[in-house]
Symmetry: C2
Subunit: 638 residues, 2 copies
């Protein structure tokens, strides 16, 4: 069983802010989509990660690095250490969630292996500093040394918050001390090409109380955007070094780097009560959501530099929308929710969870999307379960990638997902995400227990039963998702109550046995894009509850997605499996028309001869699960 320390088992634990996160000890998923994904994660994905990283020698690299001599045959890219750390973090949350002694034992052994590669002075990286290797800190732009250190710190924080002891923390503190020594106020004035150390140092500060770690995180945040990184083909924006964090107005460059940095900046802002910095990130986030975000919540339009593009450049085909950016987006939105209490941040968490995070893993938990395109034009290729993909996007879910960051990233989020569902403040409890779960926490007024039961997102009814209540009045708050605003109903013990704009709030003694029911409108609905998004002009998509829907044409269904158009007026009917039924026209081919053989002509395409067909749209997260297929999220209107 988790030790009493597990009371701190939350993926982020700010010292200030509007809301207090509930821990993995206080919230337990019991059923439904997320519980299922979490089970698969614990039963299959963690094993998949362990066996692949062992097979590829990424764990052995630590043992080799601890031995005398040159680890000449170290395999993998320069950041493979970080995959071991993210894996360790996932295992730590899984241990906290399940209390499994086997997992704890595994983590202890892994700590010993990792720790064996640590130098006397605390430095720890398997690819730098030994004979035959590049010197330590010799390639801050691309070497990923501080990035790897950051993930080590996060693993140690997860391990410590799980109440599992100090083994990882001792390694992490020595790493962090060495980083502070080298890059402190009087040290090397530099930053890492890939942000990550910032949020990690703040979390380590939160866990250890060491003020130096927070100061170093603040230094790294303030130092970025001042041209300390070398010029690069992709420009300084690629690593957010084009502009100081507090002066920027929108996220740009490599999406994951941008989001990790923003998360770190929020952490720094919250701990130092720097409202200006917090407001700057809020503005950047708002502008990013408003102009640079896919309808799935996916971020990063470009394959080349895995980056945000200019405003409104959101092509559905070849959308990159990296899975890691989805995870990082959840981290950022969650931090902003805790800091501000604004329910819109929980809307974004929901969008990302359903449409990016849940989309990535295959049903068996052993294959993953790295990129999450919104339009698959050629049939996906079914992966070789033993094969490693050299490419990071396109095609079907793959068992492994040369750069496999997304896999342990999804794993650490799923293992800690209970921690993202609910919060508390002095007055009561706030439910942000809907899934069957049990909640129990201590308020100033006393202990509150809740039983949440729902078939969400397939159905919009969320039933909350109070199982334990303090003697005093308290408040239960339920988020009204943006897609159901004005269309949500609330009853308390069968009596209808008013629903606020973005929350349904119940206040009173609410004794044990009280039943609160929130009814959300999960009828499928059409969604239209801003006219400035050129890539999807003249198209619509459908959503149902938190799910974006798509048209998935499994090979053999004989539906050519290049020729489909929908009549919006004909409407959407709910279909089984959380989808919607729609009538589409299958148009004739329409090109080339002019004499030179190019697909452009002096007259609009002549589309007489369309056939009608009825098809089912399915939740985007379900696409590609029934074999090779083509897919599109955005559908041209007829």
């Amino acid at each position: 069983m988790p030790s009493p320390h597990a009371r701190t088992a939350a993926p982020a634990l700010p010292g200030h802010g509007r809301l207090r996160p509930l821990t993995l000890d206080e919230v337990h998923l019991t059923d439904g989509l997320w519980h299922h994904l979490q089970q698969v994660n614990g039963e299959a994905t963690l094993d998949h990660l362990r066996s692949w990283t062992e097979r590829l020698g990424w764990v052995q690299a630590f043992t080799d690095a601890s031995a005398a001599g040159t680890p000449a045959d170290r395999r993998g890219r320069e950041f493979t250490d970080s995959e071991i750390y993210k894996y360790a973090e996932a295992v730590a949350w899984e241990a906290a969630r399940t209390g499994s002694p086997a997992l704890l034992e595994h983590l202890e052994k892994l700590a010993a292996t990792v720790g064996s590669a640590q130098a006397e002075d605390g430095y720890l990286h398997t690819a730098f500093g030994r004979p035959g290797q590049p010197e330590r800190w010799s390639d801050l732009a691309f070497g990923h040394e501080l990035y790897c250190a950051g993930h080590l710190l996060q693993a140690a924080v997860a391990h410590a918050r799980s109440g599992a002891g100090e083994a990882w923390l001792q390694i992490a503190r020595r790493v962090a001390d060495q980083v502070c020594d080298r890059f402190g106020p009087d040290g090397v004035q530099a930053v890492c090409g890939h942000p990550e150390i910032e949020t990690a140092l703040v979390e380590l500060h939160r866990t250890t109380g060491e003020p130096r770690y927070l100061q170093q995180a603040a230094l790294f945040v303030e130092r970025r955007g001042r041209g300390t990184l070398p010029p690069h083909e992709f420009g300084a924006a690629y690593f957010l070094d084009d502009e100081p964090v507090r002066e920027a107005e929108v996220l740009r460059g490599h999406a994951v780097r941008a989001l990790y940095l923003a998360a770190g900046a929020v952490d720094v802002a919250v701990e130092t009560e720097d409202t200006e910095l917090l407001q700057s990130v809020l503005t950047q986030w708002q502008n990013t959501l408003a102009r640079r975000t896919y309808v799935t919540g996916g971020m990063g339009s470009r394959h080349q530099d895995e980056a945000f593009s200019d405003d409104w450049v959101l092509p559905a085909d070849r959308a990159y929308a990296e899975t890691c950016a989805g995870v990082a987006g959840v981290m950022l939105a969650w931090r902003l929710l805790l800091a501000t209490g604004d329910a819109r941040h929980a809307d974004v968490v929901e969008r990302l969870l359903y449409n990016v995070v849940a989309t990535s893993p295959g049903d068996d938990g052993r294959s993953f999307f790295y990129a999450n395109t919104l339009h698959q034009r050629t049939p996906t290729e079914l992966p070789d379960p033993e094969g490693e993909s050299l490419a990071f996007g396109g095609g079907g879910r793959q068992p492994w990638f040369e750069v496999s960051c997304c896999l342990p990233n999804v794993a650490r989020l799923l293992a800690s997902l209970d921690g993202y569902l609910a919060t508390a403040d002095d007055d009561g409890v706030q439910l942000h995400q809907y899934a069957s779960c049990d909640v129990a926490t201590e308020l100033p007024a006393g202990r509150v227990g809740l039983q949440v039961r729902t078939r969400y997102p397939d159905e919009g009814s969320v039933v909350v039963t109070v199982t334990e209540a303090p003697g005093w009045d308290w408040t239960l708050s339920l988020r009204v998702p943006s897609w159901s605003r004005g269309r949500a109903r609330l009853t308390v013990d069968g009596v209808e109550q008013a629903v606020g704009h973005d929350t349904a709030v119940v206040h009173g003694s609410l004794p044990a046995g009280t039943t609160v029911v929130l009814e959300l409108d999960t009828a499928p609905r059409w969604t239209f894009p801003d006219t400035r998004i050129d890539a999807v002009r003249g198209c619509v998509t459908a959503q149902r509850g938190p799910d974006v829907l798509c048209l998935d044409a499994t090979t053999g269904t004989d539906l050519d997605l290049d020729r489909v158009a929908v009549d919006v007026a004909a409407g959407l009917a709910p279909a089984d499996g959380g989808g919607a039924q729609v009538t589409v026209q299958v148009r004739p081919d329409a090109g080339p028309r002019d004499g030179d053989g190019l697909p452009y002509g002096e007259a609009p395409a002549h589309l007489v001869g369309s056939e009608q067909r009825t098809v089912d749209l399915v939740p985007y997260r379900r696409w590609g699960r029934t074999g090779s297929s083509t897919m599109r999220v955005w559908l041209p209107t007829a």
Copy 2:
């Protein structure tokens, strides 16, 4: 003056085929757009190329490589030799065109420098094979050794065809012999990651008569697509190694590589009279034009791998459409025109010349587009004339790039452009491109001279006066561009004559003094895209004559191109400078509408409140010439 050998000064000189190219000795531009660009090329661009390559040490690399010891400080990428060779080719054509003794002397000196780096056995590359360098042929996928050899051969062919002597040819033959020795039928069964050697070997065969070079080119063509190159993140299609050339149905992968390979395959097919291979390339080309080509003729949709994408993926924003792909497209289409006589290939040459090749160089001939986007969303940055760009696309024309292939590629095409205007066969002369020029050639029936005078493309009238005629009947053929089919008029000495589908043909004695006038319809016209091109759905563009038009909003004109829409029914009026005047609506902003701050909503955008404005569309090739600007080719319809 050019020697008598200059009679062979043609950029491609097939031994078979439907049409015979006219040489730089037989066609001379006298006036107009192309003559002007050619002058700027000769006066500024060649000097620009010389001074930059000298400053960067790319010429010095040959001298250094010839000295004993290790050229440790060799600068630039592994393919800089090829830039010197393309520059030499450009100078050779310029020498052939102008007869300049200074240019010939410069070429002799350059040959001595280049030749000094040649090894005893003929091998020649400055980045491989010496102490401290990678071994020869150790990285066929990315080392560009055969690619560089190919450009050397092409420079030598140009030099020899210009009648300037054997200096380059002697070097090239030794290089080619060494390549044949190593990679011949019994040699290493491999190909170069970047095709180019194929077409070069055939041209060297055409110039020297050596059959071995043709056989080696055929071997390289047949060997590709058989998995001899290593796996790569971008897939085997990146270097066309996914499928044998004669089995492929469409061009794919890196656009320039694909087009150079296709040109080489046509050369092999023509010389070996392999109609199956020729037909295969024709099919690939037809499919590529029909599904994977921008309205500008630009090819290659992706920045990441500079590659063709799937069918119909032709985003206007971030279109790559590399200038080199435009040059390579001209090379391929020209070869197909010579082989088949089909006028549609000349249509494609025209589209590429006006909308890619002429777009790239700045007015001063000292700045260039590497990529040719069809939508510039953020204002271009004006380049630093001394600055080298690390990025290859986006922004304004740049003086230099870390990879500067496009600059000498444009230079060699412009210097030899006279050679792409007209052809002959046993019956007469064919005019394919319209520009003021003088033409004189020998037919079996006798000598023909033509004076072509036109203000094309600003006006559609082309006046051809016969200045010399054989005693016997002969045929003058004029291409009717695809955009003027059914709308072209022809008079011979003032008497109207019938015009064919894609050619206007005049047959008879046509004695000196005969005046043939072709009138083409250069009224601006709307152009609609195939409905399968998602990226420009609901948009139109305009064309006028061979020019694609665009809306160029020079900074300060206060026109937000994200909010512009056109009413197609309102029509297009001709405007000065070859453009068109059009009425646009400037729409209000339209987003975000739903509560979560993303740019998607349950209702279509509400566009009431649009203002009307009259604006000029300008030829795409002129965009970005009046300062920083935003631009779009495709305009949403109102």
